[in-house]
Every structure is written in C-alpha cells, then in structure tokens.
Symmetry: C2
Subunit: 156 residues, 2 copies
Amino acid sequence: MVSAPLSAISKDSKERLRLWIRMLRASRTIEAELRERLRREFDTTLPRFDVMAALYRVPEGMLMSGLSSFLLVSNGNVTGIVDRLVSEGLVTRARRNGDRRTSMVKLTDAGRAQFEAMAAAHEGWIGELLGGVGEEDTRRLATMLKSFRSNWEGRE
Amino acid sequence: MVSAPLSAISKDSKERLRLWIRMLRASRTIEAELRERLRREFDTTLPRFDVMAALYRVPEGMLMSGLSSFLLVSNGNVTGIVDRLVSEGLVTRARRNGDRRTSMVKLTDAGRAQFEAMAAAHEGWIGELLGGVGEEDTRRLATMLKSFRSNWEGRE
DNA sequence: ACATGAAAGTTTAAGCTTGAAATAATTTGC
DNA sequence: GCAAATTATTTCAAGCTTAAACTTTCATGT
C-alpha cells in the first residue's frame, strides 16, 4: 500500500489549509502593524526597510538581482525601491569596473545610521507583537519553519 | 522581581525576530506560488481569490466594510477589487432598502461556480506546498498561531 | 572578428495597496 | 426638526508589485 486512503488525504489537506490561513493572517496582522509604525516613527515604508536590512548585512553591497532573489520580489520591483532610496540619499549604485551591466548597491553612511535606529526599534516591536508566543513555542515554531524552508529549497 | 534581566529580554527578542523573519519568508514563498498558479490556471489574482473566498462562506453577502476588516486590508482597496469582480460578472453589489450607504456584495452563480473550481485546486496546492510539514507539526503550528491570534485580538 | 545567445537591469502597463480627503446617508442631541 | 457628529463608502495620489517586453553588456562558438 503506497498511499493513504482518500479520506485521510483530504483530512490532511484541510488541516494544512487551516494552517496556511492562520499563518497568512498572522503575517498580515504583523506586517500591517510594522508598516504603520515605520510610517509614523520613521516616515518610511516596509519595502524600503527590507531593502536596507538586506544591504546592512553586506557592507560590500549587493547586485540588483541579489536583492530581488533575497527579498523574494521581482527585479523591476527592486529597481523602483532602490531608485527612491537613492533619491533620499540612503543608498548608492556604484558602477563596477568589471561588468558594466551591473552596479553594487550599498547603504550610504546616512542609510546605515538610519537603519540602525530603525532596526533597534523594529526588534523591540517584534518582541512586543510576538510577546504572547512563549519562549518554548518560539523556538519550536522557528525550527518548523526552518525545516519548511530547507524542504522547499529542495525543489523547482 | 517583576521583569527578566536585560540580557534575557534581548535574547528573547532575537529569537522572536528570527521567528518573524522565517514566517514572513514562508508566507511570501507560498503566496508567490499561489499567485503564479492562479494566474496560469484560472487567469485571476490572489486578491480576487481572497474576496471570493470571503464571500463564498456567506451566501447572504457581505458589506464592503465587512470584507475589508475580514481580509485585513483597507477600505479603498476592496472597492477596486470588487469593481473588477463586478465587471467580470463574478459578484454583484445589491442595493439595500434599509441603509442606502451600503450594499450587499454577493457572488453571482458564475462567481460561485468559478470559486468552487479554484477552491478545490487551491486546497490541493496548499496540501502539496505544505506537504513537507508533518501531520503532527501541522496541528501544533496551527494551534500556536490560533493562540497568537486570540492573544492579538485582546488588544488595541 | 563576429554572430548568437545568455545575463543583468530597466521600462511599461496593469493591478494592488495604503492613508487621507471627499461624499453621501444615517444617527444623535438638543 | 435640525445641526453636528458618526458611519459607510468612494476617490485620489503615491507608492508597491508583477509579468512581459526591451536594452545593454557580456560570454561562447566558430
């Protein structure tokens, strides 16, 4: 016997559907709150914060394609967000000698300073918003989601 | 002693930050896949699917404000999505005798039929995409997220 | 060298999303 | 009854997002 009976398959998929809906609602709830606070306290947006967070980890900078694949968004999307960050003086596009198609996107000093302030607040907000999740559950959930991710990456 | 020492607070918030980042990445990954499949197989979008899913549960229909609070999106957002669904003949805005500010948004028969087809596929997709999460973990995760939600609703 | 194809980014059109302002209808307090 | 406040929704401007088309640059094979 290779597969479970149909009724069990259906029951499983209903359980997973429930899980997905709850995860989606939790994400949206938290995202909405973060967006609101970033706007109120730092006059910026979540996508800009995400780009800056990605760049902050890597002082030498990132390619546009690196940003879009890291952030799981489209190429054209990143173009627009980086354009705005450049015009605000928070990041730069540095031409490269080797490949003239690409440029390294880096935080400016101002961008780095602003991100550090935002990141500290952001970490506190998450601690607050997820405060209801116990320590043990936090670890367990994080572990499960990590396994989801590695499981996912073993496809396409 | 009322609060934990600072080092413990900081450690907790780092754990929760990690959890949040993983949850966000999982959501985005799944959402991207669903969006792609809805487009390919049904020539529609995730927001439209969400609105139709909300309406499907309630044959008597919903108010615009009901939709926006259920879907956790802004009022003006729903206006646009419903406009497009109306122009596609999938939902209707029925005037009400009582309150002329509001109208009941309902699925048409065509909308109901189309949603049923999409919902069946959607459930299968979720079952597939979350297939790597074991049954026990699925239940546990869903329970944790439910408690997050009820915990959340006990604020603002 | 040169054509062909691949790779990196940008642009574009359409749609999604938000927050704020505007509109319209209802309710409340005199 | 009527002004004022509230409620439900739409409109608007700005920004986000995607998929597809396009441009430029690089790599490859001959």
